[in-house]
């Protein structure tokens, strides 16, 4: 029962978030029940929809890892957004401009994106370690710098000739195979899940992960135990950056039909911020993050049906994400819920 409690808390928070989101529909005369019915039918109604939901979940489980691995080391790293932009740019560069044989090309494009993401997290990491600059400020500034840099590179250097609205598409050799005809789910989801598993193993199965968690739980004890705190923080940032870079790549070389980055960054924008909610619902655990990502993927895919059938703008789903996070911030809520349950 004790192990089930975090799951229960997350589910209650999701429920409250959805109800509050429904309340936001009322002033505009939308029908919440109809909207949510359309949403969940759209998200899970057919096998095709389930696959689409998983396609939406893929980047989210990765940006959730960015936040989660930060929290585990005591950081509030909200830089996934910018690291993902830079990762996406790296993926576009490697996938569209480097002529490489099949197989190797996918590997190189994926690695380039991950390295780009990690490099983008390096400066906030060093600023934190050397100067004590709070990561909330540094990573947000880096997100905005990344936004303008990525837009610039996409328009000036990587644009598809004759189509300024997007970059060159990934060469066929760099594209992850599509898992089913007509679906946008590709094999990149396996890479994403593997990455989450690897981070899980790293955090709970290696000395480095143990030290990172010790720094997060109790920095004083960690220092006393001789842990190199700076090193632990650096790795937390870099692993997070790699996850975000991979998330960016997943939208370029693992997501038809565009196989490219829009000049507005429209096909990656906000996926990094969405990951924060996913991580918190997944209790900052890489594996919990996978489950939570599927839930949020369902909200995002189903949100389009909600817009179509009930007229509710799909962005409301992102507002629900925020409401869930706010709910999860309140520990007193759980004491209240528990009291009710035990009465």
């Amino acid at each position: 029962m004790r192990r089930a409690r975090p799951l229960l808390e997350s589910l209650v928070a999701v429920g409250i978030g959805l109800i509050a989101g429904g309340a936001l529909m009322l002033p505009f005369r939308y029908h919440p029940l109809k909207a949510y019915q359309a949403l969940f039918q759209g998200a899970f109604g057919t096998p095709h929809d389930v696959m689409e939901t998983l396609a939406f979940a893929t980047p989210l489980m990765l940006t959730a890892v960015t936040f989660a691995v930060g929290v585990r080391a005591g950081l509030f790293n909200i830089g996934a957004e910018g690291q993902m932009y830079i990762g996406a740019i790296g993926a576009v560069f490697a996938a569209s401009l480097l002529p490489l044989p099949p197989g190797l090309h996918i590997l190189v494009a994926t690695l380039v994106a991950m390295i780009c993401g990690a490099l983008w997290s390096l400066v906030p990491a060093l600023l934190k370690i050397w100067r004590g600059v709070h990561e909330v400020i540094s990573t947000i500034m880096f997100n905005w710098i990344a936004f303008h840099l990525a837009t610039y590179l996409a328009i000036y250097y990587l644009a598809e000739p004759g189509r300024a609205e997007r970059t060159r598409p990934a060469l066929p050799t760099a594209r992850y195979p599509i898992l089913a005809e007509g679906s946008t789910l590709t094999a990149v989801i396996f890479v994403a899940i593997l990455f989450c598993l690897a981070v899980y193993f790293l955090l709970w199965g290696t000395r480095m992960g143990y030290e990172m968690r010790l720094v997060g739980e109790n920095p004083e004890a960690a220092r006393y135990a001789g842990v190199q705190i700076g090193q632990a923080l650096l790795w937390s940032f870099l692993i997070g950056g790699m996850a975000a870079g991979l998330a960016g790549a997943s939208q370029i070389i693992g997501r038809p039909p565009a196989w490219s980055l829009y000049a507005t960054l429209g096909n990656v924008a906000t996926l990094g911020f969405d990951g924060i909610g996913v991580a918190l619902v997944g209790r900052n655990h890489p594996l919990g993050g996978i489950l939570a990502a599927i839930l949020f993927g369902a909200l995002q895919h189903g949100g389009r049906f909600m817009e179509y059938h009930a007229g509710v703008v799909s962005e409301l789903v992102r507002a629900v994400n925020g409401l869930i996070v706010i709910t999860l911030a309140i520990p007193e809520l759980w004491t209240l819920v528990r009291r009710r349950l035990t009465l």
Partner: protein, 327 residues
């Protein structure tokens, strides 16, 4: 106090540096007055949000949801202005909604014992989705809304150029916040509640009341800043109108070590940076050479530089971010 002076020195140095840059730009055909005008406009929302947050953090409450408040109140401000046919009403509407959001966050922090960082971030995430939702639901147009020109809050013509009355209000409020914190009983209590809430409690003053008050005050000022952006500056609202200003305001607060006047100075510095960026982007002869995208990065780069270079031993209230429990 020496920290105060050294930090003020940095600000003066930085502003002089920017002034030099402005002089350089002047040589290629840029007007200093327009630069000051743009800088003061950009300063206003930063200063309002930062000054309120200084007072709030002095009482031991952190609100990193400033960005979210700026976004939501920008949209609501425009809507209220259109309902009442007056830009001033819109500013008041923004303030009221900002105060309400501050109240909710305050209630969560004080009675819900919420993790204030996560709750504030939750507010930011909420605003990220709620703002486009509101724009679409209110005006049935995605991502942007331009309102009638006559709803704009007029600017006053002064020897220093056209200045918005809201800008003057922001400067005045920074001084008032300074007086409040350092020269009134209420301010003494606010500072005490951040340092030693149990002492305040024993003295018979309500800890929860004080913290709720600062949270509402911070929200109201931030809401004014949010409504200011469309109604007295841009003339329209887009879904990413705040563009990280809530976090730049937090940088002001951190830099200022919670002193409202220093926060105002920092806001002016960052505002001037934005003014320069804007000026560069429109000046013929310069704009062709420097890509617009790099100019856009300037405010964020300068914010990072300032926070990195000028970090001394800042002292924050002892109980910052932590709820108070009576023993």
């Amino acid at each position: 106090m020496s920290g105060f002076l050294s930090r003020l020195g940095w600000i003066v140095l930085a502003i002089l540096g920017l002034g030099l840059l402005a002089y350089g730009l002047d040589q290629v055909g840029l007007e200093p007055i327009s630069l000051l005008e743009a800088g003061l406009l950009a300063m206003t929302p930063l200063a309002l949000a930062a000054v309120g947050e200084c007072v709030n953090e002095k009482a031991g409450v952190v609100n990193i949801g400033l960005e979210g408040i700026l976004l939501i109140t920008a949209v609501v401000g425009v809507w209220v202005a259109e309902q009442f046919g007056s830009g001033i009403a819109g500013l008041i509407g923004g303030m009221v909604v900002g105060a309400l959001i501050g109240l909710v966050l305050g209630l969560l922090a004080v009675y819900g014992r919420a993790d204030q960082i996560i709750a504030g971030m939750g507010l930011n995430l909420f605003a990220l989705g709620f703002t486009p939702y509101l724009l679409m639901s209110l005006w049935a147009f995605p991502g942007i809304h331009i309102f009638p020109r006559e709803l704009m809050v007029p600017r006053w013509i002064t020897p220093l150029g056209q200045i918005s009355p809201v800008t003057l209000a922001a400067i005045l409020l920074a001084f008032l916040a300074h007086i409040l914190l350092h020269h009134t009983v209420l301010g003494f209590r606010i500072r005490a509640v951040g340092e030693k809430p149990e002492a305040v409690d024993v003295a018979g003053v309500r800890v929860d009341g004080l913290r709720l008050f600062t949270s509402v005050l911070g929200g109201a000022l931030c809401g004014l800043g949010g409504a200011f952006m469309p109604l007295a500056w841009f003339g329209g609202v887009v879904k990413e109108i705040s563009a990280g200003r809530g976090f730049i305001a937090l940088a002001c607060v951190v830099f200022a070590g919670l002193e409202p006047l220093l926060a105002l100075a920092a806001a002016f510095l960052f505002g001037l940076t934005e003014g320069i960026a804007y000026a560069v982007a429109i000046t013929p002869g310069v704009k062709e050479r420097i890509p617009f995208y790099f100019v856009n990065m300037l405010p964020y780069v300068v914010t990072l530089l300032v926070v990195t270079l000028v970090i001394g031993r800042r002292r924050f209230p002892r109980t910052i971010g932590r709820p108070y429990t009576r023993e």
